[in-house]
């Protein structure tokens, strides 16, 4: 979708390059995080995409179209733009702010009004309350939401976001990050997101481009970056606890095992046979009338001669498919158990995760780690 080819930006000719021979390919529908210390060229890289800054040499393509050939105004109208200071127009109402690009595009009034209300609702701001307020009447987090709404107004396929949550307190920032990720699941934009915070990059990114002194140091998924930092510099950006950070990236649904079930009327031997046949250690026990009763595991079946009903253990507290491994681990600690069930909607059990699964998931990803082994 967006492709940089040997892009160089020099602000002054004798200067060293602010962006140095950058090759980068950003896929459609992905969030690409540009991360690195202040002054490494992230903003410059981003602004070259909408031609706020002109590349000194090299080419940038959007949908295989060389942007040099596109009129900057036309180009920008189809690229959402969000910045850290929001840049909201202080003399205009929230509705007028959000309507900026639709107005430039000449939409009719009714369509604009509907779109503004729709976006306010999407951003969890009640249109009745906020439509006619001025930016100064809003909190920092609300202003940033309006900034995002304004960028989304004409539904551009691409969004550029320069440290959009950088000026917010940690709690608000976390909230807006979560909201934005949920939103992105719905809208699937191609997003270039600048941050100096590696944790934000790991949390938000489908891909991460690590930059240093204008050069691309490493490009990959958060997982790849965490597991195989290209060099000392990237490791340092990641900070300690690489494995723990990976646990934040992986969701239960990625590693959970499916779990068979068996009717409570069956004998222990039959349950055992099924376990051996499927090669699993746990099995759900159900009843035609009452539904899910609980579960039994391999160890209890091997040591006892009893009915399934007597060996039943309760399912207990569960996690959801979207719970991260880190939260799952905390859950296990707080429950004092080595297994936890994953349940989706309406109390159905979808799978199971054990402590070993967690450790394996992390160690598979992290070859450098020896805590796990």
């Amino acid at each position: 979708m967006i492709r940089f080819e040997k892009v160089v930006k020099k602000y002054n000719y004798q200067d060293k390059a602010a962006v140095d021979n950058l090759d980068l390919h950003i896929n459609k529908g992905e969030i690409c995080m540009l991360v690195g210390p202040s002054g490494c060229g992230k903003t410059t890289t981003m602004k070259m995409i909408n031609k706020l800054i002109k590349a000194t040499t090299g080419k940038i393509y959007i949908n295989e179209m060389d942007i040099e050939k596109v009129d900057p105004i036309k180009l920008r109208l189809d690229i959402g733009y969000v910045i850290q200071d929001t840049g909201l127009f202080p003399h205009m109402t929230i509705a007028e702010n959000i309507a900026t690009v639709p107005m430039e595009k000449g939409w009719d009034r009714n369509k604009i009004r509907h779109r503004v209300d729709e976006l306010l609702e999407l951003m969890e701001l009640d249109p009745e309350i906020y439509r006619d307020k001025k930016p100064k009447d809003l909190s920092g987090g609300q202003r940033q939401r309006v900034g995002v709404a304004r960028a989304l107004a004409a539904d551009p396929p691409i969004m550029l976001m320069d440290e959009p949550f950088g000026a917010l307190d940690p709690i608000t920032r976390g909230k807006l990050q979560d909201e934005f990720l949920r939103l992105q699941e719905k809208i699937g934009k191609t997003i270039v997101f600048v941050t100096h915070d590696m944790d934000e990059a790991i949390k938000m990114g489908d891909k991460i481009a690590v930059m240093r002194d204008g050069k691309l140091v490493q490009f990959g998924t958060p997982n790849e970056i965490l597991s195989n930092p290209a060099d000392e510099f990237v490791s340092e950006l990641i900070g300690g606890n690489g494995s723990l950070k990976i646990m934040n990236l992986i969701k239960c649904k990625d590693i959970m095992r499916s779990i068979p079930n068996i009717d409570v009327d069956n004998s222990v031997d039959e349950a055992m046979k099924l376990l051996l046949k499927l090669g699993v250690r746990n099995i759900l026990v159900t009843d035609k009338g009452q539904g899910l009763l609980g579960y039994v595991n391999y160890d209890s079946l091997a040591n006892h001669k009893a009915t399934l009903k007597e060996l039943l253990k309760p399912i207990g507290e569960t996690v959801t498919p979207k719970t991260t491994l880190q939260d799952t681990l905390s859950k296990m600690f707080s429950l004092g158990r080595k297994t936890v069930f994953v349940s989706g909607s309406r109390g159905r059990v979808d799978g199971i995760i054990t402590m070993d699964d967690l450790l394996k998931a992390v160690s598979d990803n992290d070859q450098s780690s020896d805590i796990i082994a």
Partner: protein, 243 residues
């Protein structure tokens, strides 16, 4: 600011305006109805006062309008990227220019334009260019760069950024400049009488010539009241344009 506060403020402004007008009217009536002697009676009349006021206003209005029409565009040009580097230098020159006494400028213009209201208008125009230009520059330059960047990044053309963002945001400051210019002009326009331009300064000259304090005082008081009036009115406009 709550609605109650703004409306009470407006009431205060209206009362002040009425008060100032009634002082001016009362003083004029007093001087005309109760002339001290035949000389005063011969030199002052309602139509003379009204004529002087209208002439005064004419000089002020034309010179201020000319200043507005030159300073604002000049200010806009000087804040465009190509000329921005000169804007601080111009501001310095402008500020030095404002320290030259108005009388000096009027005298200078008599030198090559002769006497008459044209000279007065030109002198006042030059003199009031400065506060408006100053405030136009300051107003536009003080617009948050992030606001302009956002507008550019979203695809607003430069001209629309000027009309929709920069000028509206600079407007209160520009109006404050106009307020200063007009207020000063009303006072300085007294000097027009000394170069044969007419206006309320004529009353001062006549009053002085015939040694009658009422006429002289009227010529001094009316411009002062008009200046205060202009200050209040433009103050209201200025406040209404602030976000």
């Amino acid at each position: 600011m709550t609605k109650a506060q703004t409306s009470s403020l407006r009431l205060r402004d209206v009362l002040s305006i009425l008060f100032i007008i009634s002082i001016g009217v009362a003083f004029s009536i007093y001087v005309v109805q109760y002339p001290q002697d035949r000389i005063v009676e011969r030199f002052i009349s309602y139509s003379k006062i009204i004529n002087a006021i209208l002439q005064h206003l004419y000089i002020v209005a034309i010179s201020s309008a000319l200043a507005l029409l030159t300073s604002v565009p000049l200010g806009i040009i000087l804040t465009r990227p190509r000329f921005k580097k000169y804007s601080t230098k111009v501001l310095t020159v402008v500020n030095i220019g404002q320290t030259i006494p108005s009388l000096a400028i009027v005298a200078l213009f008599v030198g090559f334009l002769g006497i008459g209201s044209k000279t007065a208008i030109l002198a006042l125009w030059i003199y009031s260019l400065l506060p408006i230009l100053n405030n136009t520059l300051v107003g536009i330059l003080s617009v948050e760069p992030s606001v302009i960047e956002a507008a550019r990044g979203m695809g607003m053309p430069t001209k629309r950024i000027l009309y929709k963002i920069e000028l509206p945001l600079a407007l209160p400051i520009i109006i404050a400049g106009i307020r200063t210019a007009v207020t000063i002009n009303i006072g300085t326009a007294i000097l027009a009488a000394f170069v044969g331009g007419g206006g309320l300064g004529d009353l001062i000259i006549s009053g002085n010539n015939v040694s009658r304090w009422q006429i002289l005082m009227l010529g001094a008081t009316l411009p002062a009241l008009m200046a205060i009036l202009a200050d209040i009115v433009f103050g209201v406009v200025e406040r209404r344009t602030i976000i």
